[in-house]
């Protein structure tokens, strides 16, 4: 069983970290700096967690797999964004499985607001991921093992 996780998270200082992990190890990452007033406290995170026996375990193959499944993931992310926009209880992290991910493959969207954000704020973050999925993936830089 291989796991591939895409994550995007935002800090209090506005910095955003986006990355991909394979079996728990970060292999791709990009950090967008926030304000000069550095604060690493997390504001929210969104994970897209994929698992399956036939998922690739090599870095670029994992990126390609995520790009190849863009339609499925974009639709799933928008679905959760709509759900959040409708005002569901968001007092604890939520997770939603994307249906029809393929035989033996599970894709789950997990998100949480650490501070008291409105569900609508996370919906915006999800919309951004859905709208820029391929762009975000292509921008990620390969991490050398020592930098992981």
């Amino acid at each position: 069983m291989t796991t591939i996780s895409f994550y995007r998270q935002m800090r209090v200082d506005g910095g955003k970290r986006t990355g991909v992990e394979i079996d728990g190890e970060t292999v791709l990452e990009r950090f967008e700096s926030g304000s000069e007033s550095e604060d690493s406290a997390l504001l929210w995170f969104v994970d897209i967690r994929c698992s399956g026996a036939d998922l690739p375990s090599e870095t670029e193959a994992a990126r390609k797999w995520l790009l190849d499944h863009a339609s499925l993931i974009e639709a799933g992310v928008r679905h959760v964004a709509n759900e959040l926009g409708a005002g569901i209880d968001f007092s604890t992290p939520i997770s939603r499985k994307i249906p029809n991910a393929g035989k033996g493959v599970t894709v789950e969207i997990c998100c949480s607001a650490i501070r008291r954000l409105h569900a609508r704020d996370i919906a915006k973050a999800l919309d951004e991921i859905g709208s820029h999925w391929k762009e975000f993936l292509k921008q990620l830089e390969v991490l050398e093992p020592l930098a992981r």
Partner: protein, 131 residues
């Protein structure tokens, strides 16, 4: 696991929300923290958080529960905090937030280690000054 480190405030709140109707056994506390880890996609803590959690217990029975609760977490600094982290923590300790408020040793160290490891901090602390 994603680059997120739990701080003590986060774990204490979670510890306190252990379901009242569930028996307070080490097994159940371990399951309780495993649930937090699964929800947040991270099992990372640092040594000061482990120490603060253990230091907060008030009986030997509670210590057993704390050990069970903390067991699933990964202490990412492996108990080794280099001088650079202490220097960074010292800088953070000298920042004063606009609204005032004191900084704690543990908070400064957690953030210093997190910075070195390019991680973000899962915290409920809202008074920590940026720079």
């Amino acid at each position: 696991m994603a680059k997120r480190i739990f701080d003590t405030s986060y774990l204490i709140r979670h510890w306190r929300t252990f379901p009242k109707k569930t028996e307070r056994t080490p097994e159940n506390f371990r399951s309780w923290s495993e649930r937090l880890i699964a929800q947040h996609g991270s099992r990372r803590i640092v040594t000061p958080v482990y120490i603060e959690m253990v230091a907060g217990v008030t009986s030997s029975d509670e210590l057993k529960l704390a050990h069970a609760y903390l067991d699933p977490f990964e202490i990412v600094d492996e108990g080794k905090i280099p001088k650079g982290d202490w220097d960074e923590a010292k800088c953070m300790a000298q920042r004063v937030a606009p609204k005032g408020g004191k900084r704690q040793l543990g908070d400064c160290l957690v953030r210093a280690v997190a910075k070195r490891l390019n991680c973000e901090v899962l915290t409920l602390d809202t008074g920590f000054p940026g720079r």
